[in-house]
């Protein structure tokens, strides 16, 4: 199907920005990389390991996340948590997300059938 590829691009574009929001939102409590991946995938958020791990690192270098190596278990794990700056950014992004959702609904006509 020739329409498949542009459709995939639209979806990727649409999801890209919201991934950061989802990651920040689920790190209000400490989580390690793979656990976070599973949490997100359980909520049907389409994210791959090779996107998430670099994203976590990037958010950490932007000081939105803090990290801690837990060495108490048999193998060390890196736990990420929202930093203070991360919390601020998250709440602003969430507000923006909500207002955007409202705008989109208003523009596209919430619940109306466009067929």
């Amino acid at each position: 199907m020739p329409e498949l590829e542009p459709m995939q691009n639209f979806l990727t574009e649409l999801r890209r920005g919201s991934l950061t929001l989802a990651v920040l939102g689920s790190l209000r409590q400490p989580r390690y990389g793979y656990a976070l991946l599973q949490t997100l995938q359980e909520q049907n958020i389409d994210i791959e390991a090779n996107t998430l791990y670099p994203l976590l690192r990037r958010l950490e270098s932007q000081e939105l996340l803090t990290s801690d190596w837990d060495t108490s278990e048999s193998r060390p794990r890196k736990y990420y948590t929202l930093s203070r700056k991360g919390k601020e950014v998250f709440s602003r992004l969430l507000k923006e997300w909500e207002s955007m959702q409202a705008s989109i609904s208003a523009v596209c006509g919430k619940g109306e059938n466009h067929e």
Binding site: Y32, G33, N50, Y53, P54, R57, R77
Partner: protein, 338 residues
């Protein structure tokens, strides 16, 4: 199984900046182990690694911004310069190469014409191709340097671009495209190098003429060629400064205008001085000219050949018109903006 993971992790890490490597390795190792079930075998490891994608693509994700040799901001200009610099340099040098091949063959006195033609062609093509490659390398180097020193980013100001930089829709000639500066620079450098080779006797035009069969003379005198070298060097330096001015300002600013005028006047003065010196040609060549009577056929004024006078006039006309054009464009730019 640990060997596969370790190899994958190292292959990702080696593509990253030194300071991130150890951290990323540690993180990746831990993440990959988490993704594996207890007591996983090679097949499981392979599945997880394929899931993560190739080391190159994962490393690309880890790098915060994409890396370019020449970024999209410059790419159009880069292609535009290459499109006319490469054919120009390639063809001109190829023609020179044909001549070099012909002279070489003539000097060897070979009568095997198939061989001679083959040598001429191969000399021309090889010189043309290598000059085009040189031009490619230097153009690329120029753009990479511009990219990494941020010549364009500085110009962009707070908005990322400037309204002032928009080309005039009616009169495009007021602005100087970046490609003009860079292309001129490359052509100047390549032809200066050819000129210097010529003076050093590495190109055969300096020494070969045909006469009753084949004899080889040095056409120009040693003292003339020795003086040519500093003249070419000074012209080269001034031309480079002029092109830097054009690349920097990208429009006919007073600075660019001054650079153009200084360059053309100085090089005009030097060329005039050079060709009006008495010992232009070598003794052997002068002897050949008077033997064949060519010298007698050309009239001379005050002991100067008409050829020298005509050439002087051409040089003056060329330089003066270059200056006048530069001043005119600068004045147009200045008044057009007010």
């Amino acid at each position: 199984m640990n060997d596969l993971i370790e190899r994958y992790v190292c292959d990702v890490a080696r593509r990253l900046p030194e300071k991130d490597r150890e951290d990323v390795k540690k993180e990746l190792r831990s993440n990959i182990c988490d993704m594996l079930p207890e007591g996983a075998g090679d097949e499981e490891v392979k599945r997880v690694l394929y899931g993560l994608g190739s080391p190159a693509s994962l490393a690309e994700q880890y790098r915060s911004k994409p890396r370019y040799l020449i970024s999209p901001a410059y790419f159009d200009e880069y292609i535009r310069v290459l499109k006319w610099v490469l054919p120009l340099v390639g063809v001109v040098v190829m023609v020179i190469g044909f001549a070099v091949g012909a002279f070489d063959a003539a000097r060897e006195g070979s009568t095997n014409y198939a061989l001679v033609i083959g040598e001429i062609l191969s000399k021309g093509f090889s010189m043309g191709v290598s000059a085009a490659l040189q031009a490619l390398i230097w153009t690329t180097a120029g753009f990479v340097i511009a990219e990494h020193t941020g010549a364009k980013h500085e110009k962009m100001g707070e908005h990322g671009w400037r309204v002032e930089d928009l080309p005039d829709a009616r009169q495009e000639k007021k602005s100087i495209p970046l490609s003009e500066g860079i292309a001129e620079l490359i052509v100047t450098v390549i032809f200066s190098i050819l000129g210097l080779l010529f003076c050093a006797g590495r190109l055969p035009f300096a020494m070969v003429i045909f006469h009753n069969g084949l004899q080889f003379y040095q056409i120009f005198s040693e003292s003339f060629l020795a003086l040519c070298v500093p003249v070419i060097l000074v012209t080269l330096v001034l031309a480079i400064l002029m092109d830097i001015a054009k690349i920097r300002d990208r429009r006919w600013s007073p600075f660019v205008c001054t650079a153009v005028v200084v360059k053309s006047l100085v090089s005009m003065a030097m060329s005039l001085w050079l060709i009006n010196r008495p010992n232009l040609f070598s003794e052997a060549f002068r002897g050949f000219l008077s033997d064949t009577g060519v010298l007698g056929m050309l009239p001379s004024v005050d002991g100067k050949s008409v050829l020298v006078i005509a050439l002087s006039v051409l040089i003056i006309i060329g330089s003066v018109s270059e200056c006048v054009t530069a001043v005119k464009k600068t004045v147009e730019t200045a008044t057009g903006k007010k």
